[in-house]
């Protein structure tokens, strides 16, 4: 069991542990996921057909429609959202979704960005990841 510790900037608090799903491509939620299931539907993304529900979703940064946070919030409402998000750089679409999830659905989605190493290079899909959004700490365990 190999363990890697990453340190970054915690944008929203909460501590969770779960399996990683890593998109090397920037991600947009409108037309990116089916908000009813959490399954990735973006045909341009190699992860099409995989689910982000209950996982630690790692992608470089958000892209696309400014309404993407609405889709992520619907996934929160249906309990098929990721449990944490790790970005190289988080932008307002992603951060606002997590802030609203707390206010409206009492759901914490810890977000950490600006990690000391590029998360989409270091973390691999299926790694076990612990995220502490308050401290901005990420622990990656690989079997």
């Amino acid at each position: 069991m190999k363990e890697i510790l990453l340190k970054g900037r915690g944008l929203t608090s909460g501590t969770v542990q779960g399996e990683a799903i890593v998109s090397k491509l920037p991600f947009g939620f409108l037309w990116g996921i089916d908000p009813e299931t959490g399954v990735i539907i973006d045909k341009m993304n190699p992860l099409e057909g995989e689910t982000i529900a209950g996982k630690v979703f790692v992608f470089p940064y958000g892209r696309g429609s400014t309404g993407g946070n609405g889709i992520l919030l619907e996934a929160v409402r249906r309990k098929v959202a990721p449990i944490a998000i790790l970005n190289r750089l988080t932008e307002p679409i992603i951060l606002s979704a997590a802030l609203l999830a707390e206010e409206m659905y009492e759901t914490r989605i810890p977000i950490v960005d600006r990690l000391d190493q590029n998360p989409v290079e270091i973390i691999m899909t299926k790694d076990l990841v612990t995220v502490d959004g308050y401290k901005g700490l990420v622990t990656v365990s690989r079997r």
């Binding site: 944008l11 400014t66 609405g70």
Partner: protein, 409 residues
């Protein structure tokens, strides 16, 4: 982030729960983007008026805000809905979907938002001044108001636009800050002429190549129309994340190149010639020509002048049987078109005027269209995903010819 006593009181909930929710999200967003303080805004434009974006969560969120007595405190307009609010049955929208969108539209008006349902509020309803701070979220409108009026807004997400409107303030970061509006890329146009078909191509180029950087464009046609610029900005925002571009001699902050560059040298200089545009245009299409079954115009929403031009281009001919030709627009423009007799003549030519929504927002997969011709860089980008079609990008004139012949030559 610095907060005044009044803002602190809002954050504690002293002035109501809806202001507390709004202020909590705004200040935490501001902290995340290293804003120094909140600045007053002159207007807002929101996107969660579309059920496609809002979903059931959006209905719940707006219902909660309405029940808490929330109201917009600055002039606020809203983006297209996901259905034609009156003629949704003709658009083959499922009833349950329409019912939810109609509920959302009702909530929008209860929040004191003008029910404009358009992506082009800047043309006639919500018109900013130079230097105004705004909280706008429709991406084509963000490019337009930053670049043409010199107003200041970031590409805001859904709900942040509304919360800013409730509080009347936005965290000062990104394009609200003068230094961040500096152009860092000099784009020189080396073109003998620029036609209407070129603007969305140019926008697509900027969206793909600029990433987060801001360009200043040299040699840009001074006679560009508002409709041409809106088509360019829409394409740029859809292809990448373009939020503003300085046009030398046209953008209020870019009277000269030096002013746009804020006295610095550009980090990069690029030249765009006809061959650049040709290769970008090829990449905007998934087909190079052939039979089409849908011709989609009005993205961003068509102006009354574009409606008149489309009518002229038909020259008394009709849309070929079996082909749909849609012009997407807002209800105010439609009303002008009714008064001018355009609507009746367009309908007689076989054109469908789609109000309040468009091919990107409405669930139109059930039409099972195969090939779309469009004069919009934004439709060209999104329709393959939203409507599951192949797409051919062309000029408005080429699109009308395709509608008449059922074939893009």
């Amino acid at each position: 982030m610095f907060l005044s006593k009044e803002e602190e009181a809002d954050l504690k909930g002293d002035r109501g729960e809806s202001r507390r929710i709004a202020m909590n999200v705004l200040t935490r967003l501001g902290d995340g983007f290293e804003a120094d303080r909140l600045v007053p805004i002159e207007s807002a434009h929101i996107v969660e008026s579309s059920y496609q974006i809002a979903c059931d969560a959006g209905i719940e969120i707006l219902e909660r805000l309405v029940s808490l007595g929330a109201r917009c405190s600055v002039p606020t307009t809203c983006d297209p809905a996901a259905i034609d609010l009156l003629d949704w049955k003709d658009l083959r929208i499922p009833e349950e979907y329409a019912r939810k969108q109609l509920k959302l539209a009702e909530l929008v008006t209860k929040l004191n938002i003008a029910p404009t349902f358009t992506c082009t509020p800047y043309h006639n309803i919500n018109v900013p001044k130079f230097g105004d701070h705004l909280a706008w979220s429709e991406s084509n409108a963000v490019v337009y108001v930053n670049s043409i009026f010199g107003a200041r807004t970031n590409r805001y997400p859904a709900y942040v636009d509304l919360f800013a409107s409730i509080v009347g303030k936005i965290p000062r970061f990104g394009l609200h800050v003068e230094e961040n509006r500096k152009a860092t890329v000099l784009v020189k146009l080396d073109l003998t002429s620029v036609g209407d078909v070129d603007y969305p191509v140019l926008g697509t180029y900027l969206g793909l190549e600029m990433k987060e950087r801001i360009p200043v464009i040299h040699n840009f046609p001074r006679n560009v129309s508002g409709d041409e610029f809106k088509a360019m900005g829409a394409a740029g925002a859809a292809a990448g994340a373009l939020a503003m571009c300085h046009i030398e001699g046209l953008t209020p902050e870019a009277r000269t190149l030096d002013e746009a560059l804020q006295g610095d040298k550009p980090e990069e200089t690029v030249t765009i010639d006809r061959s650049t545009l040709d290769s970008v245009r090829d990449n905007m299409c998934t087909l190079s020509g052939g039979d089409v079954d849908i011709v989609a115009l009005g993205c961003p929403h068509a102006s009354i002048f574009q409606m008149g031009r489309i009518l002229d281009l038909f020259k008394g001919r009709r849309v070929k049987r079996g082909v749909e030709c849609w012009i997407c627009t807002n209800r105010l423009t439609k009303s002008l078109a009714d008064d001018l007799g355009y609507s009746q003549r367009l309908r007689a030519a076989g054109v469908r005027i789609v109000c309040d929504t468009c091919c990107n927002d409405a669930p139109i997969k059930d039409w099972e269209f195969k090939a779309m011709a469009t004069d919009s860089g934004k439709f060209a980008r999104y329709a393959p995903i939203n409507a599951g079609v192949d797409v051919i990008y062309g000029s408005t004139e080429e699109c009308i010819e395709s509608a008449v012949r059922g074939r893009f030559e």
